[in-house]
Amino acid sequence: MLLIPCPWCGPRDEIEFGCGGEAHIARPENPDELSDEAWADYLFNRANPKGPFAERWVHSHGCRRWFNVVRDTATNEILAVYEMGAPRPEIGSPPVLASPDESGTTSDGESL
């Protein structure tokens, strides 16, 4: 089970989250002007890379906020977490926590 750092709640078990698939897929401004192929590409086609992948997650059983995660699909390592609307960060640096409050880390378990 992944440990996902929610920007608002801190690291939580994956079971609290939902995954919304690839990030940065903007809804076309004028769908009527698109060809069937171009619309189908927006609707159905998603990247499936081995390696860093930007995807949307929602903390369904927590703050209910959506945010972006860059996850390495080969190792499941989480390389960056950033807010909706923010550009995808350069990967290669350690995980970036775009948290407004670093002290928000909590855990639901017993600590030693």
């Binding site: 089970m1 189908a40 499941n76 909706m84 030693l112």
Partner: protein
């Protein structure tokens, strides 16, 4: 065969136990296997496929043969390894695979047919012809069965715990203790888990020394120091069974299994859980999981009395139990010499050490010489005599290539054959999380390679087999793990414990001694539990299963409950022999969780009994119960399905409710309908984007029906939304879809339209709602309303007014799902019961009749109104439903572009129509397939299916809704529903069966 002294058993505590019905005695500190050995019991089980007699092979988790069921009744546990079952007074165990009895095993007749049961025999024999599988199956299941699952509810409780730590050390042997000490002394939060009842690992079973004293003493003092450290937790009788992403490690702690089920709470059961699953998140993991000794594959190497050399020594040293009187050691490495010396010290007569190498190491030679044991080099065991247990071993010279001479050079009488084929590091947890393995060609074993996780191996798990090296690597791993976990402090320097240096000679890569006897090789076993032999592997390769993954599945090598802990590497070695490729190139299958089997009870924890999903009840629920309502589940809600009166069948009750709703007054509890309060200046923009129709013109106090689509153009929910103020709307959704719609709107607002100034609040449970419909509805409402004008002009269809009803603050909506004049009265939830009671009392004189969801469904079907989720299934567009008029041409909305895709704009899509059966009493089953030909031949062309179907008392016959290909243009056509035993004829009609002009609705 108990030794007079020694061992880590408590001779003052004598325990009685039974095995397969026979009574024996043992001591506290014994395992079941140790106590059986001490009692001279050799035959403990039968093999899975051939039912060959099997004995105790190991002294730990890797045991393939001594599989037992402990206790009977509700607390029984199947498929336990006798080598890990701690003895307690009164323990009762049976062999799992010996029906009808162990001594006379009916199925051992399988052995005679062994040549007919080769690799892949399940596939070859039992999958074809398929019709015969069912008759084989019962027999096979009985023959091949492992333990029996308990048949009664589990009387015990089980727990789940969550734990976060800096360093998790798995394994309490020398390396694990060293790692935990080093990390613990820095102040790090450390967890040490060990599957045994006490720390020490291999030190408990051998006679190695640390600081000039027995290693087990050092282990005891190390455990005491750890127990005294504040931030260290030591969990014994706890197995780390799975290692997952982000250093999530699952542990199973067996808290009371070693006490037995009969022990009272006062004696240590403490009323707590029997077992506990710990879910650990560790910043750093140290795998000090040790190693398992391999066997060597030769003819009849599965006979009871053939045992790992280290296990034989362990039984003597730790349990003071002699596994035989006269032993032969067969080895390809030095480690078995210490075992031989231990056996000799324990009074076992060691007849010879048969070493496949030209010569052993110097230390090894000295050990043998010290005990006066004959060493026969350059030889290998080639056969074992004796059926129920070892009587003699035949040995022969082996050449450079590993082939044994054609005739045995000698036969040595013995009742114990202790074998060492080298060691396999326990890399299981490393593999669980996707870690790579490297083949160590010198030691002929797989060692942990690269891992994506913060994990390191120490000691034997890392391929370091000497004690001094284990301690050193343990200390180093503990220090590094604490540092990498961010602990700045370093522990006070201590004098490192000293173990004797060892200088072993290299092992010989001998995994398999091919039999010289033609055709008999199938009796040389690789996987003892699944009866996979060397010749099975060769056969699988001949049949084309050359990949290690195919080989595994075809032969079932390593797929038994022991997961091939001792057989995996010999199996790969034989595969590499047959293929003529190096082992490193052949590769290995991966290990998956669990390391050893875990009970379902522990995995379920407290999540047993009543489903944990919340049960939602409306404020009027108690009234429905008192009225004798039959409930149905709608999402999490309990909704009245119908209200039977004395003696009424369901159909009679529903008919009565349906007629009352159209001829008097019907009353529905509509509180479960999803309600979302929408506020903010951009509310109307949101509505325009998520509904197919336009919302700009909706006046305050007016309602509108809306359809919601996914971006693929398919309808996924519907409901009425009312404008309450300038920037204030109330959206209703289906009862079951409320949470989904809320999440859907939130997702769009947060991810795509953050610029919209809109706030959403779920108010489903803030409002109780009563739907009053029928010809008497307005009269009753007028009686109860103080300040709301209710005539058709003041409050027309699809309008809302606020005021007081029966003295309660209320919103009255003129909306209808029945086609009747209808008022939906919303009051704050706390007044729901009051409202309902007043309506029932005041409405009595008009014949008010409460109705449930069945009547609700029939009334709306009579009018052809859809239910999202019943008429729609994620493949239906608004146009398919005949609701094209609700699709705005002027504005964009979610899913709009998809409606003009080539597939969604096809003319011949399935479309919503009504169906009337030729026989008016025939009610089609929902889901029935529709065909156009009366007598179609296979393949029949399905042109649609029934989505809703009822007997309608108001129409006086059966009615149905269906999705039919090109249905809108086929009105009047005849179709057929082929049903079991009959074929029902029906006519396609408009989906409207009652009051098509809608005069009642607007009245």
């Amino acid at each position: 065969m108990r030794l007079a002294g020694g061992g880590r058993i408590d001779r003052s505590q004598l325990y009685a136990f039974t095995f397969n019905g026979t009574q024996y005695q043992g001591y506290a500190g014994d395992t079941l296997a140790a106590a059986l050995i001490a009692n001279g019991v050799r035959l403990v089980g039968r093999s899975f496929k051939l039912h060959r007699p099997r004995g105790i092979f190991s002294a730990g988790a890797e045991e393939p043969s001594a599989i037992v069921q402990v206790e009977a009744g509700a607390s029984t546990l199947p498929n336990l390894r006798a080598t890990q079952v701690e003895l307690y007074d009164g323990l009762s165990a049976t062999s799992v695979n010996a029906w009808p009895s162990l001594a006379f095993d009916f199925w051992s007749i399988n052995s005679l047919f062994a040549p007919l049961l080769p690799a892949g025999f399940y596939y070859k024999t039992f999958m074809w012809p398929q019709s015969l599988w069912h008759s084989y199956e019962a027999v096979i299941r009985r023959a091949a069965g492992l333990g029996r699952a308990p048949e009664h509810p589990d009387p015990d409780i089980y727990d789940h715990m969550h734990l976060h730590c800096d360093v998790l050390v798995v394994g309490g042997g020398p390396a694990g203790l060293a790692a935990a000490l080093k990390a613990g002394r820095t102040g790090a939060r450390v967890v040490l888990v060990d599957e045994q009842n006490e720390s020490g690992g291999q030190l408990l079973g051998n006679r190695q020394q640390i600081d000039g004293a027995p290693g087990a003493e050092w282990a005891t003092s190390a455990a005491e120091e750890l127990a005294a450290l504040d931030d260290v937790r030591v969990l014994t009788r706890t197995t780390a069974f799975g290692h997952y992403d982000h250093n999530h490690v699952a542990l199973i702690e067996r808290r009371t299994d070693h006490l037995g089920p009969a022990v009272s709470d006062a004696d240590g059961r403490d009323g707590g859980p029997r077992q506990r699953v710990w879910k650990v998140r560790a910043k750093q993991v140290v795998l000090a999981t040790g190693a398992h000794e391999r066997s060597i594959v030769f003819r009849n190497n599965d006979r009871p009395g053939v045992m790992q050399a280290s296990a034989a020594a362990c039984y003597v040293n730790r349990y003071a139990a002699r596994p035989g009187h006269r032993a032969v050691i067969f080895t390809n490495n030095d480690s078995a010499y210490a075992a031989a010396a231990d056996l000799a010290e324990g009074g076992v007569s060691v007849a010879a050490i048969v070493d496949a190498r030209p010569e052993p190491g110097l230390d090894a030679s000295a050990l043998a010489a010290g005990q006066g044991i004959e060493v026969i080099t350059g030889h290998a065991a080639v056969d074992v005599k004796g059926r129920r247990h070892v009587e003699a071993v035949s040995i022969a010279a082996v050449d450079e290539a590993g082939n044994a001479a054609a005739s045995a050079s000698r036969s040595i009488n013995c009742d114990l054959l202790a074998v060492s084929g080298g060691w396999n590091p326990c890399v299981h947890l490393h593999c669980h999380s996707g870690g790579k393995l490297n083949f160590d060609a010198v030691q002929a074993c797989f060692v942990p390679g690269e891992s994506k996780l913060a994990v390191r191996a120490a000691g034997a798990a890392a391929g370091i087999f000497d004690l001094a090296g284990c301690l050193e690597s343990g200390f180093e791993a503990g220090a590094d793990a604490a540092q990498d976990a961010g602990i700045k402090r370093r522990g006070r320097a201590r004098k490192a414990p000293v173990a004797d240096a060892e200088t072993p000679a290299p092992a010989r890569h001998l995994f398999h001694v091919p039999s010289s006897k033609r055709g008999g090789d199938y009796k040389a076993f690789v996987d003892l539990q699944h009866d996979v032999s060397a010749s099975d592997i060769a056969l699988a390769v001949r049949e084309g299963y050359e990949s290690v993954e195919h080989l595994k599945r075809y032969t079932t090598l390593g797929m038994a409950t022991d997961q091939g802990k001792t057989s995996n590497v010999p199996g790969l070695a034989i595969l590499s022999e047959v293929l003529g490729r190096p082992i490193a190139d052949v590769g290995t299958t991966t290990f998956r969780p669990p390391y050893t089997p875990v009970t379902f009870g522990a995995l379920a924890g407290r999540d047993v009994g009543t489903f944990a999903d919340p049960v939602r009840k409306t404020p009027m629920h108690h009234w429905h119960e008192t009225a004798g309502a039959v409930f149905e589940d709608v999402g999490q809600w309990k909704r009245p399905w119908y209200y039977p009166r004395d003696g009424e069948t369901m159909q009679e009750a529903v008919d009565r409710e349906c007629l009352a709703a159209r001829n008097a007054i019907g009353l529905l509890d509509a509180s479960t309908l999803g309600k979302i309060d929408i506020q903010g200046p951009d509310s109307v923009t949101l509505l325009n984007r998520v509904y197919t129709n336009a919302w700009n013109t909706l006046a305050i106090g007016r309602s509108r029906y809306g359809l919601m689509c996914g971006e693929d153009g398919m309808v996924f929910d519907d409901g009425v939304t009312t404008r309450l103020g300038d920037h204030h709307y109330l959206m209703t959704t289906t009862s079951g879809g409320a949470a989904r719609v809320m999440s859907w709107l939130e997702e769009w607002l947060q991810t795509e339209w953050p610029e919209l100034d809109v706030r959403l609040t779920s108010v489903t449970e803030q409002w109780a709602s009563a739907g009053i419909c029928g010809p008497g509805a307005r009269r009753l409402m007028e009686e109860l309303s103080e300040d709301i004008a209710l005539d058709a002009e003041a409050l027309p269809f699809m309008a809302m007014s606020e005021g007081r009803v029966a003295g309660l603050p209320a919103r009255v909506f003129r909306i209808s799902f029945s086609g009747e004049v209808s008022f939906e009265v919303n009051v704050p939830s706390r007044y729901g019961m009051a409202l309902w009671s007043i309506l029932m009392t005041a409405g009595e004189k008009y014949g008010i009749t409460p109705y449930g969801t069945e009547t609700l469904h029939i009334l709306r079907a009579e009018k052809g109104y859809i239910i999202a989720g019943q008429e729609t299934d994620g493949t239906v567009t608004p146009i398919d439903l005949g609701m094209g008029r609700m699709v705005s041409k002027k504005k964009d909305f979610i899913g709009k572009r998809s409606l003009s895709r080539s597939d969604t704009s096809r003319e011949d899509r399935k479309q919503l129509v009504g169906l009337l059966t030729e026989d008016e009493t025939e009610v089609l089953p929902e889901g029935a397939q529709i065909v156009s030909e009366p007598r179609p031949m296979p393949p029949m062309e399905m042109i649609g299916h029934v989505t809703s179907s009822y007997h309608s008392a108001n129409v006086g016959r059966s009615i149905a809704l269906a999705l039919i290909r090109s249905g809108h243009s086929r009105i009047g056509e005849q179709v057929f529903a082929p049903l079991p035993g009959k074929r029902v004829m029906a006519r396609i009609v408009e989906p409207m069966f009652f009051d098509p002009e809608g005069t009642r609705l607007h009245g």
